[in-house]
C-alpha cells in the first residue's frame, strides 16, 4: 500500500513545489498564468487524492486495516525523555478519515482556486498596487501544502508543525491587503489568538511526550489505555497548582484539555472566537477556503484524532465549550449586517456544533458535519464573494436587496447553501441536504445521552456484568473494562471498577440549547439571504451596477452539487468505518448516531420500549421542521425590508440585547482592555523601570560611583592621606623644630646658662670617671 502513501505525499509536495515556483518566479509568470499554475498544482493533488479515494473505496475491510497498520515510518530524530527514547516519525496515517479529509480538502480547494483566478484579478494590484496577484497564489499553495500535511500526519509532532504552518498561512492571507490597518490588525489578532490556543496545545503535547513516551497517535492511545488500566504514568500524576492539590483530577484530563486548547484556538471556540469575524478582512476566497472549509476544521480534526486520549472530564469540557460557542455566536449572527460577518458567525456556530458533537460522543456525526459544512460554507462564501464583487465592494446587506434578478445563479446556489445550513429535510423520509443529516446525528446522540442513557443501564451502573444491554466489545473503555474484569477475576476487578468511570447522563440543558439554536440558525441565514437577494432594492446605485461574472459560476455549481450529493454518498460511511478504530478502547464514549449503526460501535437506540425513545423519531418532532419555522419567521419579519425589524428592535429589552449582540457581547472590548491593555501596562512598567533604573540608573550609578571615588581619592586619599602625610611630616618637623627651638630663646643669658649646665655636666662626668677609675 505504499503506493497510496506515495500518492498522498506527492499530493502534499506538489503545492509546496508550486509555492516555491510562485514565490521566486511568480512576478515573472504574470497575471493570470500564476493563478493557473496554482490551479494546476491543486488539481494535481486532487487527481492523486481521487486515485487514493477510489482505491480506498475499492478495498475490503481487511485490506484497509492492513494498509493502516502497514504504513512505513521513517524516524527523523529521537528525543530522550527520562531515559526513554521518544521517536519522531515520518509516517502517513492511512485510514478512512485521512482519505476522506484529503479528498474534501482538495476538492473544495480546487473550486476555490478556480474561483479566485477570476476574483483576484480584480482584487489585487489594480486596487492598491501592492497586493500582488502571484503572492496570493503562492500563499494559497503554501496553505494547501500545510493543510494536506496536517491531514496525513500520523504523529502529533508533525501535526503540530503543520498546525503552525496553517496558522502562518492564515496570517499571511488575512493580512493580504497589509497596507490597510484593519487587515493587518486582523491578521495579528488571528495569529496571536491562535498562539494562545497553541500554548495549551504545547502543554498537552509535552504531557504526551513525558508520560506516553511517543508522539504517534496509535501508540499514544495504546499507552494511554494501559496507564489508565494500571493507574500508572499520567494517571498517577496528580495536579498541583502551586502546591494546592486538585483532588479527583489527574494530569490525563489536563492533557486532553491542553490538546483541545489548540482546537479552541484554531477552530475559534469560546473564548478564543474573537479572531474569526475580523478575519473576514482577507479576500473572499481566503475566507471561503481557510475560514470556512479547511483550517478551522483542523481543530475538529485534531479532536477527532485525539479522541482516545481524552478522559470523560475532558470530553465534558469539550462539550461545554462547544455549546457555549454555538450559542453565543448564533445569537450574535442575528444582528450582523455585513454579509461576510453573518457567514463568519454561522461558521463559528457550526464549528461549535461539531465540537459539541465530539464532546457528547458523536464522533461520526461531528466529522460528517465537518465534511458537509465544508462544502456548503465554501459555496456560501463564494456566493457572497460574487455578491460583493457584483455590487462593487458593497458588503452591507442593508444596502442590497432584489439581487436575485440580477444575479440568479448566485442567488439560487446561495439558497441551496441556506437550506443546507438550516438543515432542510423531510423528517423520517431520509430526504435532506447537508446539515440535515449531520446535525440530526449530533442531536440524536445528545438526545440519547440525555434521555435514554439511564434506561439503557448506563450512567452509574457501568461495570456490571453483561445482560441484554451488554456493551459491544469496542464501545470504548467500558467494554475493555468488562472484558478485563472477566479475564482477571482476582484483584483486578476492584481496580477496574474504580477506573471505569461512569459515562454520565447529559444534563437537559445541554440537549435543549442546541435545539433552540437549531431554530435560530435558519432564521438568521434566511434573513441574510432574503435581505440580499429578495425584496425591493434598497440602494439603487448598488442595484444598478450588480452583475455576475461567468467565470465564477463553475465552482459555485460544483460545490452546490457536492453539497447535495455528498450528503448521501461516500463520506459518512467511510468515516463511520474509520470511527471504530479511532474510538476503540477509549475512556470516553463514542456513539454512532446514524440510521444504520456501524457494526462495532455503540449506536443509538433504534427501538422504543423499556423507557427508551428512538432519538430520530423524537428529533423529527422537535427539530424536524425547525428549518421551516426559522425561515418562515425570517421571511415574515424581513419580507418588506428592515422596517419591521427596526420596530422590534426598539422594544425594550430587545434594544439592550441588540446592543450587546451588536457589540459581539463585548468580547473584543474586554480582551482589549484587560489583556492587551494589561500587557501593555506591564510592559510599560517594565520598560519604565528598566529605563529608570538600568538605562538611567546605570549611568547615574556610575556617575555617583565616580563622584564618590573622586571625592574619596581627592578628599580622603589625596588631601587627607597624601597631603596629610606630607603635612604630617611637615607639621611633625615643625612641631619637633618648635620643641627643639625652645632653647634658642635668643637671649644670651639663657645661652650662657645652657653652656654652663653643659660644662658642669662635663665636669661631673670627668670627676665621676676619674673617681671611678681611681677606685
Amino acid at each position: 500500500m505504499s503506493g497510496y502513501e506515495t500518492a498522498l505525499c506527492l499530493g502534499v509536495a506538489l503545492p509546496l513545489a508550486m509555492f516555491g515556483v510562485l514565490a521566486f518566479f511568480g512576478a515573472r509568470i504574470g497575471k493570470p498564468a500564476a493563478g493557473w499554475c496554482a490551479v494546476a498544482a491543486v488539481v494535481g493533488s486532487l487527481l492523486l487524492s481521487t486515485y487514493v479515494t477510489l482505491g480506498w473505496l475499492g478495498m475490503s475491510a481487511e485490506q484497509k486495516s492492513a494498509a493502516t497498520s502497514g504504513a512505513h515510518a521513517w524516524e527523523w530524530v529521537a528525543l530522550s525523555v527520562h531515559g526513554v527514547d521518544v521517536p519522531i516519525l515520518f509516517k502517513v496515517k492511512l485510514d478512512a478519515l485521512t482519505v476522506m479529509m484529503y479528498f474534501m480538502v482538495t476538492l473544495v480547494s480546487t473550486c476555490i482556486f478556480v474561483f479566485s483566478v477570476g476574483y483576484m484579478s480584480g482584487h489585487s494590484d489594480e486596487v492598491d498596487g501592492q497586493s500582488k496577484y502571484h503572492r496570493f497564489f503562492a500563499y494559497l499553495c503554501l496553505f494547501e501544502f500545510s493543510m494536506l500535511g496536517l491531514v496525513i500526519s500520523s504523529s502529533l509532532f508533525f501535526l503540530f508543525v503543520f498546525w503552525e504552518l496553517v496558522g502562518l498561512c492564515s496570517y499571511l492571507l488575512i493580512g493580504f491587503y497589509f497596507d490597510k490597518k484593519y487587515a493587518s490588525n486582523a491578521a495579528m489578532k488571528a495569529f496571536i489568538t491562535n498562539r494562545v490556543g497553541d500554548f495549551g496545545f504545547l502543554a498537552g503535547l509535552m504531557l504526551v511526550m513525558f508520560f506516553l513516551h511517543t508522539f504517534d497517535l496509535d501508540q499514544a492511545a495504546e499507552t494511554f489505555k494501559f496507564q489508565a488500566i494500571g493507574g500508572t504514568g499520567i494517571f498517577a500524576a496528580s495536579v498541583n497548582i502551586f502546591g494546592w492539590q486538585v483532588s479527583g483530577m489527574t494530569l490525563a484530563t489536563l492533557m486532553g484539555v491542553g490538546l483541545f486548547c489548540g482546537a479552541m484556538g484554531k477552530s475559534a471556540q469560546f473564548p478564543l472566537q474573537v479572531w474569526l469575524p475580523d478575519a473576514m478582512a482577507g479576500p473572499t476566497p481566503v475566507s471561503a477556503l481557510i475560514h470556512a472549509a479547511t483550517m478551522v476544521a483542523a481543530g475538529v480534526y485534531l479532536v477527532a484524532r485525539i479522541f482516545r486520549l481524552l478522559t470523560p472530564d475532558a470530553q465534558f469540557f469539550i462539550a461545554v465549550i462547544g455549546l457555549i460557542t454555538l450559542t453565543i455566536t448564533a445569537l450574535i449572527a442575528i444582528v450582523q449586517t455585513d454579509i461576510k460577518k453573518v457567514l463568519a458567525y454561522s461558521t463559528l456556530s457550526q464549528l461549535g456544533y461539531m465540537i459539541f458533537g465530539l464532546g457528547v460522543g458523536a464522533w461520526i456525526g461531528a466529522l460528517f458535519h465537518l465534511i458537509t459544512h465544508a462544502f456548503f460554507k465554501a459555496m456560501l462564501f463564494l456566493g457572497s464573494g460574487q455578491v460583493i464583487e457584483g455590487c462593487h465592494h458593497e458588503q452591507d446587506i442593508r444596502k442590497m436587496g432584489g439581487l436575485s434578478k440580477k444575479m440568479p445563479v448566485t442567488c439560487w446556489t446561495f439558497f441551496i447553501g441556506v437550506l443546507a445550513i438550516a438543515g432542510f429535510g423531510i423528517p423520517l423520509a431520509h430526504v435532506g441536504i447537508g446539515g440535515y443529516f449531520s446535525k440530526d446525528e449530533i442531536l440524536a446522540v445528545a438526545y440519547e445521552r440525555t434521555y435514554n442513557w439511564e434506561a439503557r443501564g448506563f450512567g452509574d451502573q457501568v461495570g456490571q456484568p453483561a445482560g441484554e444491554h451488554a456493551l459491544p466489545a469496542h464501545a470504548g473503555m467500558l467494554g475493555a473494562t468488562v472484558r478485563l474484569a472477566s479475564d482477571n477475576p482476582t484483584g483486578a476487578e476492584e481496580r477496574e471498577t474504580a477506573i471505569a468511570r461512569h459515562v454520565p447522563v447529559l444534563p437537559k440543558f445541554m440537549f435543549w440549547i442546541p435545539i433552540i439554536i437549531a431554530y435560530i440558525t435558519p432564521f438568521y441565514m434566511m434573513r441574510c439571504w432574503w435581505l440580499t437577494f429578495m425584496g425591493k432594492p434598497r440602494d439603487h446605485h448598488v442595484y444598478d451596477h450588480a452583475h455576475e461574472s461567468p467565470l465564477m459560476y463553475g465552482p459555485l455549481v460544483v460545490l452546490a452539487i457536492g453539497t447535495v450529493v455528498f450528503s448521501y454518498v461516500m463520506f459518512r460511511d467511510n468515516i463511520a468505518g474509520a470511527g471504530v478504530a479511532a474510538t476503540d478502547a477509549s475512556l470516553v464514549v463514542a456513539i454512532d448516531g446514524g440510521k444504520k449503526t456501524a457494526d462495532n460501535m455503540l449506536g443509538i437506540t433504534h427501538h422504543t420500549g423499556h423507557g427508551l425513545v428512538d432519538p430520530h423519531a423524537a428529533l423529527a418532532g422537535i427539530v424536524g421542521f425547525a428549518w421551516l419555522v426559522g425561515m418562515g419567521i425570517a421571511v415574515l419579519i424581513y419580507r418588506n425590508g428592515l422596517a419591521i425589524a427596526e420596530r422590534i428592535r426598539r422594544i425594550w429589552p430587545l434594544s439592550w440585547i441588540y446592543v450587546a449582540l451588536e457589540q459581539k457581547l463585548f468580547f473584543d472590548h474586554i480582551y482589549d482592555t484587560v489583556l492587551v491593555g494589561g500587557t501593555k501596562w506591564v510592559l510599560a512598567q517594565l520598560s519604565r523601570a528598566f529605563d529608570t533604573y538600568i538605562v538611567d540608573g546605570v549611568p547615574n550609578l556610575l556617575a555617583k560611583v565616580t563622584v564618590g571615588l573622586a571625592n574619596f581619592s581627592g578628599r580622603i586619599v589625596d588631601a587627607g592621606g597624601v597631603d596629610g602625610l606630607i603635612d604630617g611630616f611637615a607639621d611633625t618637623a615643625q612641631a619637633a623644630g618648635a620643641v627643639v627651638r625652645q632653647p634658642q630663646t635668643g637671649r644670651i643669658r639663657n645661652y650662657i646658662l645652657f653652656g654652663t649646665a653643659g660644662a658642669s655636666l662635663v665636669v661631673i662626668a670627668i670627676v665621676l670617671v676619674t673617681y671611678a677609675g681611681a677606685r
Binding site: 660644662a759 658642669s760 670627676v767
Partner: protein, 237 residues
C-alpha cells in the same frame, strides 16, 4: 631722702674699703714673707699650725730692697688676712649677684677686684696685683662705668628677672660649683711648699721678653685690633 642714706652708705663703704686696702697693702707682703721654706708641708688641709715661725726669717740675702722675699709660713696673720679678704671677695661677689642696680654692681665689682688684688699680694704676685689694681680696677671698671653712663636711661631702672630663671640659674651654678669644688678639694695637687721667693719685676720682664715673646707680640696686635674694632663699633653714623 633716698639720696641721703645712700650717700651715707657710700661713705661707710668707701671708708671700709679704704681701711681694708691699706691694711692689705701694708700687711700683705709681711704676711706673705712670713711663710717659711724648707719645711715640707703637708697638704694645706692639715690643721695644726700655730707654730711660730715668725722668728726664723730674715735670711735677707741681697742688700737692695726688692720684693723677692723668701716666703715663710705666714702663720696666723696670713690666715687672717686670707680669710678676711676672701670674705671680702666672696661677699662683694655675692652682693653683685644680689644687687639689681647696675651702679651698685659696678661698685661691688670694684671691691671684688680690690680684694682679688690683695689676694694676689698674698700670693707674692706683687706686680700682678698692682697691674690688677691699675688696669682692671682703674681702667676696665671705669670703662664699664662709662658704659653704664652712656647706656642707661635712668640709674634707678631695675630689670627684674623671673623667679624661675633665678632658681634654674641657681641650680645650675650650684651643680657646677659642687662639681668644681669636688675636683678642687679632692684633687691631690702636687704642691711644693719649699720657700719660694717672690718673683721680681725684672724676672717678670725677662720672662716676658724671652719665653713669652710671641704671646706678648700677639697681645700687642690684639690690643691694636681691639682698639680699631672698638672705635669702629662705637663710631657715630
Amino acid at each position: 631722702m633716698v639720696c641721703e642714706h645712700t650717700t651715707r652708705a657710700r661713705f661707710l663703704l668707701a671708708g671700709l674699703l679704704g681701711l681694708l686696702a691699706a691694711g692689705g697693702l701694708l700687711l700683705g707682703p709681711r704676711a706673705a714673707s712670713a711663710h717659711e721654706t724648707g719645711q715640707p708641708h703637708e697638704h694645706a688641709a692639715h690643721a695644726d699650725d700655730h707654730h711660730d715661725h715668725d722668728h726664723d726669717h730674715e735670711h735677707g740675702a741681697t742688700a737692695d730692697y726688692d720684693l723677692r722675699q723668701r716666703s715663710e709660713s705666714g702663720g696666723g696673720l696670713e690666715a687672717l688676712l686670707f680669710y678676711v679678704f676672701a670674705a671680702t671677695v666672696l661677699g662683694s661677689g655675692l652682693a653683685i649677684c644680689i644687687s639689681t642696680n647696675i651702679v651698685r654692681m659696678a661698685v661691688y665689682l670694684f671691691v671684688t677686684l680690690s680684694g682679688v688684688a690683695v689676694m694676689f699680694f698674698l700670693l707674692l704676685a706683687n706686680f700682678i696685683g698692682v697691674i690688677q689694681l691699675i688696669v682692671y680696677a682703674g681702667g676696665t671698671l671705669i670703662l664699664l662705668i662709662f658704659g653704664v653712663m652712656l647706656t642707661s636711661k635712668s640709674p634707678w631702672v631695675r630689670f627684674d628677672v623671673k623667679r624661675g630663671e633665678l632658681i634654674a640659674a641657681g641650680v645650675v651654678c650650684t651643680v657646677l660649683a659642687v662639681a668644681l669644688l669636688t675636683v678642687v678639694v679632692g684633687a691631690n695637687w702636687p704642691t711644693n711648699d719649699t720657700a719660694v721667693e717672690g718673683a721680681s719685676v725684672a724676672d717678670f720682664g725677662k720672662a716676658l721678653m724671652t719665653t713669652y715673646l710671641v704671646p706678648f707680640e700677639a697681645i700687642s696686635v690684639l690690643l691694636l685690633v681691639v682698639m680699631i674694632g672698638a672705635a669702629l663699633l662705637a663710631r657715630q653714623e
